[in-house]
């Protein structure tokens, strides 16, 4: 279905490509910078106004330090488990709740949504929440990284808004066939919601992937540590912020290669999660919704 483009449209296309290329260049540069800096001498990267185009005084010291840590691979495994299990649970809880809240006739849905919104702004803070988690007995367990942060209200709201945008006609046919609510949710609504599920799955996965704070609070046994905690430890260990006579403040003398290791930890922790994106992208192709309905 080739449609002939007008001259104006052609000019627009050219400009569009140029603009996006420039944007890509500007936006990707910090990533490239980190990659190059992680294998450079940390003092040398500040020469030439800080512009890094290729490694300066190349060395792999930072990656050696990161990879020689014996906890690294176990924590990688833990993180992958947390991300897979956590994302599954979170997406299930979020979509089911959004589905229910999108039922126009459900008694009390407005009150329930108000109460849910309320928690975005008012919460008990660290210690009361910690007490609850502790008394449920899930600190220092695999559940600690998954359950206490399972639902994000923000994600719930954008999912709800998506569900409410789905035309009612889509489910009426199923209702006439006598499908239960479970079936409507599972067979009709979920397939229709693929683009938004892809988005919130990505949001949840990235949040769990980057989450070290939950681990810091709820985990003290190292065998449960996620990748971010171990990387943070490597970083703290290598920066050696305390000094000999002067253990007074953070105005201390860090080890020379701390900066490199910081860059290296970003590379090590980011590459795998970047690989997830292309899988998500296929749900962003136009027409996915129609396809789902017809299929």
């Amino acid at each position: 279905m080739k449609i002939k483009k007008t001259l104006g449209e052609q000019i627009f296309d050219v400009f569009n490509v140029i603009i996006l290329l420039l944007l890509t260049l500007v936006v990707v540069y910090p990533c490239y910078y980190i990659l190059v800096a992680s294998v450079s001498n940390p003092a040398a990267i500040y020469q030439d106004g800080g512009l890094l185009l290729w490694p300066k005084e190349f060395g792999m010291y930072s990656y050696q330090t990161v990879f020689e840590n014996s906890d690294l691979w176990r924590s990688y495994g833990n993180t992958i488990f947390y991300v897979v299990a956590g994302t599954f649970l979170s997406v299930m809880l979020t979509t089911s709740a959004a589905f229910c809240a999108s039922r126009k006739t459900l008694p009390g849905k407005n009150i329930i949504m108000f109460l849910i919104m309320f928690t975005m702004y008012f919460n008990g803070g660290l210690i009361p929440t910690y007490m609850v988690v502790k008394n449920l007995g899930i600190t220092d367990s695999y559940f600690a990284m998954i359950i206490p942060t399972a639902v994000s209200t923000y994600n719930l709201i954008i999912t709800l808004s998506y569900f409410r945008g789905i035309p009612e006609s889509m489910e009426e046919a199923a209702k006439i066939d006598g499908a239960t609510d479970f079936k409507i949710f599972y067979k009709v609504m979920l397939p229709l919601a693929k683009p938004i599920i892809a988005v919130i799955a990505l949001y949840y996965a990235v949040a769990i992937w980057n989450n070290y704070y939950t681990a810091l609070i709820y985990l003290s046994e190292e065998k449960y540590y996620p990748l971010q905690s171990v990387l943070r430890q490597i970083l703290l260990t290598s920066s050696g912020t305390e000094q000999d006579a002067a253990a007074i403040s953070s105005e201390a003398d860090g080890a020379a290669y701390a900066a490199n290791i910081r860059y290296a930890t970003i590379v090590v922790s980011t590459v795998p999660i970047l690989c997830v994106y292309p899988f998500i992208q296929k749900y962003f192709i136009k027409g996915v919704m129609i396809g789902a309905v017809k299929g």
Binding site: P42, A43, A44, I45, Y46, Q47, L126, I127, P128, Y130, M131, V132, K134, N135, L136, F182, L216, I217, S220, R232, Q233, L236, T237, S238, S239, G240, T241, E242, Q243, D244, A245, A246, A247, I248, S249, E251, A252, D253, G254, A255, A256, A258, A259
Partner: protein, 528 residues
């Protein structure tokens, strides 16, 4: 779906609710009150639980908790008291500490860098800690140490003479000195200049550094005077105002505490700094230098003069024979650095209210101040980590500097001696510490400590809870305002003629209230 709606609403949900509610509320409400009957036997306890964060250097050397550090092992052997260590990473110490004290059961002893900032009278009232001074009878070595070192005692004793926590003490005055003015000696030599001894000579030196290309790369990229922040006691360029007998913060003048911004001396001092800045002698980016950028400028052969820290990695890199960094003697000995008076390390240790045998815990802590304890914490084991030569204890050079396990000297010290980390109750000795320094580091410290006369620097004052309450907002507002104006004048955004306006504004911000509280506390300090 076999689970019917009815069953769910009538049985399952209420059950879950009841359990969680009981669990959470039950876990929170019961605290304080239940004070176990204390068994004070007056003998060394068999075992204790001690919460103390583990520093990153010891962790890097392979320690999992403090029990893996050599000195603690020796003391465990010598006292016969087995310690159950709880050691979170020191970087996470504060979060873990808060969770710890929110919990039910406290360990016997807690070492953390929080107690000096807390209202420990209230902590005693709430049963969190017990006053250590109640158990002084079980601590003969500490008593002796306090008598022999009244200066140190003053810094952690409360104003009423009681003791709530034990510090890590710096046993010798040299140990308080680790930052100071630093210069590229090789640049001075190359340009045929003398070591500056006053601000005028310093100006000429900086001018020469800037204009005569001492690094010899043909570019005018030298930063004559570099630093990190204006008003910071370690690397701040503002520390040069000391030469004018003033300070950018509180200090002692004629036996009373005042603030430098209120004093006449600030005018010529800031004029001098503003002149240096306008002539490009001060790093124009001094306010945005972070640790890495500041160090990179030194390592990249650009910084000529700065306030530096010792021991430091850049000394190690630069002092390779071609370049030379040395300490600069303070001009006329004028130094207002509070750290030069600080004889305490960065951790404080308490006995908790849950400790069943506080007297025994006190006895164990006292051991660290005994002659045997001081040797163990500073030198480790005789014949292994150190030897006695001519009556002096000498660290085994190979053990520290050519470690058989391939550890860096810093890592060796932190995994062997408590004297290295200065947080657990102990007495750090210069005799130990100086042996862990490289020669140039030791030389710089000797230059600074022999030239500095910090008698007018602000001593460590204690404030009552009411006083703190009264001035905390004022102090925060004053500090940010002073910092802003101090740097604005240096950078030419405000002029020294604005100092009168600044004084007025400081009074509006409550400077007089703050000064009154400071002086009240200072009087108590002097009478201690």
């Amino acid at each position: 779906m076999k689970l019917s709606f009815k069953v769910l609403t009538k049985r399952v949900l209420p059950a879950i609710l009841a359990v969680t509610l009981m669990a959470t509320v039950g876990g929170c409400s019961k605290k304080g009150g239940e004070k176990g009957e204390n068994v004070s036997t007056g003998t060394m306890p068999k075992n204790l639980t001690v919460w103390a964060p583990l520093g990153s250097l010891a962790a890097k050397a392979g320690a999992n908790d403090r029990g893996d550090i050599l000195a603690y092992k020796i003391i465990e052997e010598q006292t016969g008291c087995v310690i159950d260590w709880i050691s979170p990473s020191s970087a996470e110490g504060l979060e873990k500490f808060n969770l710890l004290i929110a919990g039910d059961k406290l360990p016997d002893i807690i070492c953390a860098d929080v107690w000096s900032g807390r209202d420990t009278y209230r902590d005693i009232e709430e049963g969190l800690i017990v006053p250590i001074s109640d158990y002084l009878d079980y601590m003969p070595n500490l008593k002796k140490f306090l008598e022999e070192n009244p200066d140190v005692a003053k810094q952690f004793r409360n104003d009423d003479g009681s003791i709530h926590y034990l510090p890590s003490a710096r046993g010798d005055e040299e140990l308080t000195v680790f930052v100071g003015p630093t210069i590229r000696k090789d640049w001075l030599d190359k340009l045929g200049l003398e070591m500056p001894t006053n601000t005028d000579e310093l100006y000429n030196v900086l001018k020469a550094f800037k204009t005569q290309d001492p690094n010899g790369n043909g570019k005018q990229d030298e930063i004559a005077f570099s630093g990190m922040g204006g008003d910071s006691w370690s690397y701040g360029i503002g520390n040069i105002v000391w030469a004018y007998d003033t300070h950018y913060s509180f200090f002692v003048k004629d036996g009373k505490i005042t603030h430098g911004m209120l004093e006449e001396e600030m005018k010529p001092a800031l004029e001098y700094l503003a002149k240096l800045y306008s002539e490009g002698l001060i790093d124009p980016d001094y306010l945005i230098n972070d640790d890495e950028k500041y160090k990179a400028k030194i390592l990249n052969d650009r910084s000529g003069f700065f306030f530096g820290i010792q021991p430091s990695s850049y000394y190690l890199t630069l002092n390779d024979g071609t370049k030379e960094l040395v300490g600069v003697p303070y001009f006329d000995g004028k130094c207002y650095n509070e750290q030069y008076l600080n004889r305490l390390g960065g951790g404080q240790t308490v006995i908790t209210g849950d400790c069943k045998d506080p007297a025994g815990a006190a006895m164990w802590l006292d051991y660290f101040f005994s002659p045997e304890g001081i040797i163990a914490t500073n030198f480790g084991i005789e014949g292994e980590t150190h030897n006695v030569v001519d009556g002096k204890r000498v660290l085994d050079h190979d053990y520290v500097f050519n470690n058989p396990d391939g550890l860096e000297s810093k890592e060796v010290c932190h995994s062997s001696f408590i004297g290295a980390s200065t947080d657990f109750p102990s007495v750090q000795l210069w005799e130990y510490y100086s042996q862990t320094l490289q020669p140039w580091g030791k030389a710089a410290i000797e230059v600074w400590s022999s030239s500095a006369n910090p008698e007018n620097a602000l001593p460590k004052l204690k404030f009552t809870a009411e006083e703190k309450d009264l001035i905390s907002d004022e102090l925060e507002n004053i500090n940010t305002y002073v910092s802003t104006q101090f740097n604005n004048i240096i950078m030419g955004r405000a002029s020294v003629n604005d100092l009168d306006k600044i004084k007025e504004e400081l009074d509006n911000l409550g400077m007089q209230d703050v000064l009154k509280v400071y002086n009240d506390s200072y009087v108590r300090y002097l009478n201690k």
